[in-house]
């Protein structure tokens, strides 16, 4: 897993609530048996029209908006457990998703793939969205070590929560398997005493 400490980038405002994993990556793209190529199909049915043409009204197709931070409405990533959603976002180039609320499984999947979910207050989310609408070149800094997210060249900043263990994993690029394997003796002892 890639390490993450601090990132400054422009951002893409996706002003939609309850974005479910079927929108992030539709089921028909789940037939692959590896993790490659999902980025090409992220938000497929929003990025393209039914006829397969680029949907110019969709924010990802707006040439003014670029960057590796996705800023989005509440309850992002609800729906299925498909980790393909995280792979698709990472594959497309996102490193951070900002929302006022994340669905559980999606949050875990992102953290396991080096994609940082940053949960901010509703007010701060509204602030970022407004700034981004006014100026697509607005830069945002996400500092994992200090757990802060700030809008560059302003005093606007907020701190965010992250599980301390997961934070270390992100910073050092560890994953849970390494940790669990180190616990094998204890796991076997647990099995032996279980009814």
């Amino acid at each position: 897993m890639e390490k993450f400490t601090k990132l400054t980038s422009t951002a893409i405002p996706l002003e939609v609530e309850n974005v479910d994993t079927d929108q992030i990556i539709p089921a028909r793209f789940l037939k692959a048996t590896d993790k490659e190529g999902f980025g090409d199909n992220v938000f497929r049915d929003w990025r393209f029209t039914k006829e397969g043409k680029l949907n110019e009204n969709f924010i990802l197709n707006n040439p003014n908006y670029r960057g590796s931070i996705l800023v989005t409405g509440t309850n992002f990533g609800c729906g299925s457990s498909r980790e393909h959603a995280a792979w698709a976002l990472v594959g497309y180039g996102f490193k951070v998703v900002v929302s006022s609320f994340f669905a559980d499984i999606f949050k875990g999947n992102s953290l396991n793939n080096g994609l940082l979910p940053v949960q901010v207050s509703k007010q701060f989310l509204a602030l970022i969205l407004t700034r981004l609408k006014e100026n697509p070149n607005t830069q945002i800094t996400v500092d994992l070590e200090n757990q802060t997210i700030s809008i560059l060249e302003t005093t606007l900043s907020e701190s965010f929560d992250i599980d301390p263990y997961k934070k270390m994993c992100m910073i050092y690029g560890y994953d849970d398997i390494d940790y669990l394997l180190s616990k094998k003796d204890q796991i076997e002892a647990f099995e032996a005493q279980k009814i």
Partner: protein, 460 residues
């Protein structure tokens, strides 16, 4: 302070706790399927890690399987390849697999309970969010991502932070025509799609105590639709009777010993939940959804609410509905009776009971898709197949089918489908398809009438 059902099962599975961090939770049973397991197998192989407990894994093929001509080779190359990989991976690692065509094949959340794999007090995971279904037995069951599938492969454990506790209580008596599906759609419409995020839910009260195991599974199945990782119902005589005698159920004295333990699992009377909701059964009526998430549900006789919000408007635009209008009499061309929410024998009995002696409307294409080979066999054995065929319905072969439309069972763009599945997201049943969630009874009635009707007016 007393413990909840969830606490008791969770605490019995904690191997270790990291200070200020997550806990190592032991997983008794790991269910896998073709879509979310291949990358996990690859990862272990790349890192040269063996599968730790292959005999605690059970595999089935369900998401990507055809529902017609299952005896023939699968036409779609990618789907065929995915199933082939599952078989190869299972063979290589000695994992029990009920592949396509096997008499125990079926949707993972239908076949495992049916075989007695799902039992009270267990921890059970699967790379599928509707793993919450198994909580109906008083097990801790939840969906995981593929990285976690790999973790369980490697260690039979997961690193997790204990969720908070939520209880939803429904007391009283359900009205005629109100099914378990209506109960859960009603709850979600009241508390919203993220009321449960960060929580594990327990369903309590007379309504769930009186419910069959099939009904309890329907309710727990949709816990994830209110954001909860899982839902649970305290095991009781209904549970024990269901489990008893099934293929993987404990036998004889072991069964009796287990039952004695299972009886201790119910939430203590002095336990405190982090959040509680209470509803009255008499408030619940047959439900229907009008939008693009499961919380957008109303009583079938109500009108679509007016809410001034861009996401709400976007959703109604997609569905082609207007705020303030009624759903009644909307013509419907597609009906899907299936999915891990409602494809058990009880669901088909309910539908057949309504359909018997009637004819399917000409405009309707109806897919009846059993949840497993065993349900399929039972439908035939109980004479329900004959009822369906006489009414002009087609019974398909088991699988997830149009619930997520990964196979050929797709609803055409723009068409409405009254569906017994669990998600009405944009494009869930095919690009541009519009899903309306309802109970098997409402689905059956829609297929007969060719439009949405107020089922309460048709029950004698």
């Amino acid at each position: 302070m007393g413990k909840t059902l969830f606490d008791k099962v969770w605490d019995a599975h904690v191997v270790d706790s990291i200070e200020n961090g997550p806990q190592v939770l032991y997983i008794d049973t790991h269910l896998i399927h073709e879509v979310t397991s291949p990358q996990a197998f690859n990862e272990l192989e790349e890192r040269n890690i063996p599968i730790f407990r292959p005999n605690q894994i059970v595999a089935t093929a369900d998401h990507n399987t055809p529902t017609l001509d299952q005896h023939l080779p699968i036409k779609d190359v990618l789907s065929r390849n995915q199933l082939k990989q599952l078989s190869e991976n299972c063979n290589k690692h000695g994992i029990r697999l009920y592949e396509l065509g096997h008499k125990y094949n079926g949707i993972v959340h239908v076949m495992a309970p049916e075989l007695g794999i799902t039992q009270p007090g267990k921890t059970l995971v699967c790379g599928d969010s509707h793993t919450s279904t198994h909580g109906a037995f008083g097990a801790i069951a939840f969906g995981i991502g593929t990285s976690q599938v790999a973790q369980v492969f490697a260690s039979q454990c997961l690193l997790l932070t204990k969720p908070k506790s939520l209880r939803v209580t429904v007391n009283g008596t359900l009205k005629k025509g109100v099914l378990p599906k209506d109960v859960i759609l009603y709850i979600i419409s009241q508390i919203g799609t993220n009321a449960g995020t960060g929580y594990f839910c327990e369903y309590a009260g007379e309504v769930f105590e009186r419910m069959s195991m099939e009904g309890r599974m329907t309710v727990c199945n949709m816990s994830i639709e209110m954001g909860a990782r899982g839902g649970m119902i305290a095991p009781d005589e209904t549970t024990f009777n269901y489990v008893k005698g099934r293929k993987f159920a404990p036998k004889d004295e072991t069964f009796d010993k287990k039952v004695a333990y299972w009886k201790t699992l119910a939430t203590d009377s002095d336990a405190i939940f982090d959040k509680e909701y209470t509803f009255d059964a008499s408030e619940i009526e047959p439900m229907i959804t009008y939008g693009t998430h499961p919380g957008m549900g109303i009583k079938i006789s109500e009108i679509i609410p007016k809410i001034d919000d861009p996401s709400f408007r976007k959703s109604l635009d997609y569905m082609g509905f207007k705020a303030g209008e009624s759903m009644l009499n909307k013509p419907i061309n597609y009906v899907f009776l299936g999915s891990c929410t409602n494809s058990r024998i009880e669901d088909f009995r309910m539908a057949a009971h309504f359909i018997k002696g009637k004819q399917k409307a000409k405009n309707v294409t109806a897919w009846l898709v059993p949840g497993s080979k065993q349900v399929e066999a039972q439908i035939e054995a109980e004479g329900l197949k004959a009822v369906f065929e006489a009414a002009g319905f087609e019974l398909r072969q088991p699988g997830c089918s149009a619930c997520l439309a990964m196979n050929d069972d797709k609803i055409p763009a723009g068409e409405y489908c009254v569906s017994t599945s669990n998600r009405n997201f944009e494009g869930r049943q095919g690009q541009g398809a519009r899903t309306i969630l309802a109970s098997p009874l409402v689905a059956a009635a829609t297929a007969i009438e060719g439009k949405i009707i107020d089922i309460t007016q048709h029950l004698n």
